[in-house]
Amino acid sequence: MNLSNHIPILIIAIPLLAAFLVPLIGRINKKATGILTTLALSVSLIFTIALAVKILTVGPQVYVFGATSPSLTLPSGLKFPIRIMLQIDAMSIFMGLITAVISFFGAIYSLSFIKKYDGVDKYYSLLLLLTVGMFGMEFTGDIFNFFVFLEIASIASVALISFRGVDYGEPAEAGFKYMMVSSISALMVLFAVGIFYGQYDLLNFAAIASMIKYSQLDKIALGLLIPVLAMKAGAVPMHMWTPDAYSEAPAPITMILVAASQASLYALFRIVFSLYNISLNALTVGWIIIIFGLLSMFIGVTMAIVQKDIKRLMAYHAVSQTGYMLLGVGVGLAVLANPVALQKYGITAMEGGIFHIMNHAMYKGLLFLTAGALFFRTGTRDLNKMGGLAHYMKYTTIFFIIGAAAIAGLPPFNGFASKLLIYESVYRFNPLLSIIAMVVSILTLASFVKVFHSAFLGPKLPQFKEVKEVPRSMVFAMAVLSCIIIFFGLFPDLIVKNLVHPAVMSLIEQLQYTGTVLGGM
């Protein structure tokens, strides 16, 4: 048995096994559950890194379930890709790395954060299932399997959002709203799957992509898939669930939910680029995505300025930052049919958008963790009630400054690098878009100045006399994320050249995606 061949499935299967073992272990020892979770996710993280090295040096990987060949030869000699498979190229592994890193640090942060609640074993089990769902959405090469993993991720995240719902009403309300929108979206995805199956008798991404004609039915499927996946990513005007869900979930879960919404974003890009690619009307669909991006950026940030709840404010920023990714990739899509413009600025715009996904996961994760640290010690999320916390929580203050500077796009942090790529390339597409993006960046800085002032600055308040620094595991998780942010900020070229550029190229070149499956048949 050669282990290295099985790495793609082990990344998914080990957290899955751990998710089922955690409640069993929890009967014997409650403390062991957290350690088992962390262990499983660390194995997953190591395997993801190993797989990333393999993919970036050797090429895309295909892993078939239950048989050696992805296709079945009928007695008539016809070959058919019927098996469920994982298909992992540079873009998938890029998202996989984000998922692995974020869920690992989410688990570490949870070790102390979640201690005081009941049902810790169920919490860890659901966290692992959420991770499995995200990995599955990113790695799968089968469109129905994608739907299954989407539902696994959304069911697990709903249960985690309403985790505190036994004691408070608001988390249950947020969970209900998220469940409603995500089940609508999942059913629309299923309908689109039905349309594809009815037309092509196929469920394999690559096989559908090689046959797609952009017929009337394909247009309907695209029209169903774009809005629901954009909704799951939190695009305006379907973003209303985002602040509710993000603010009520426990802080480490909020961080993982950001990565989960990005998995939907990945699915949107995968469908538009790898499934349809040049066959669709690139300008129209590109502009649809650009308009989603613009609305998300502007409405997200202006709504954030008036918020009083710290996590709600950050959630609106998550909406706003998603707009940057949609803008960057949308510009790339709009010029997809025009090779000259694509070479000149389209690829750079997409690099900016894709790089921003990773940066956003890191700094928004860090910011949510600092908000969680404040909640952990003060017991409130209301900015009006906070003040002077920098006196008591020095490390958290430093991490918050790093995160806020990164999200506002201040040099030399990582947010600046990806935003610069977006500004400069989008300016050559349409100057107005670039100017709006810069204004949004300034407003982002303004609203984080507000948070910093009202939560951390000011005199020592009498009600927070007992407040002290958060436990060590929480500080550790925040410190490592800060180090990643600073590293990305100092050496953005390493990431762009080695991870982002291959990811963009694997999106643009459809043949590379379909060839890995159909070439081996």
């Binding site: 029209g223 169903l224 809005p227 209303m240 669930w241 030399p412 005199p459 009498p462 050496f491």
Partner: protein, 113 residues
């Protein structure tokens, strides 16, 4: 060079930026350290000037989040009032937005061909 990111129309290097910030910052600090002759420490000059009113206690002088950017939101009332009203928090509206957007996108994709 390590850390040099090509952006299509130029480049960005955090390391060069940090070096520049250090150089310019040290010049600024040097100029600032030359100082103002008339300034004297531990005199009346150190105290805040509030037109002779008595100074408030530190605890009550903290500006809470509600008051920050009050002018900004007040000036943009026409923009904010409908926008905040739009976020009703009603689950029916959430699903209505999704359905409406789906219909609009279906029409746009269908018409554009």
């Amino acid at each position: 060079m390590l850390g040099l990111l090509e952006t299509g129309s130029g480049f960005w290097s955090a390391i060069i930026w940090i070096v520049l910030v250090l150089v310019i910052g040290s010049i600024v600090i040097y100029i600032r350290n030359k100082g103002e002759d008339s300034y004297k420490k531990n005199t009346e000059q150190d105290k805040p000037f509030i037109s002779g009113n008595p100074e408030e206690s530190k605890e009550s002088s903290h500006l809470s989040a509600n008051h920050i950017y009050w002018g900004f939101t007040e000036a943009l009332k026409g923009y904010y009032n409908p926008l905040v009203k739009m976020h009703t928090g009603n689950i029916n509206d959430y699903s209505s937005w999704i359905i409406m957007l789906t219909v609009i996108i279906l029409i746009v994709i269908g018409v554009s061909g």
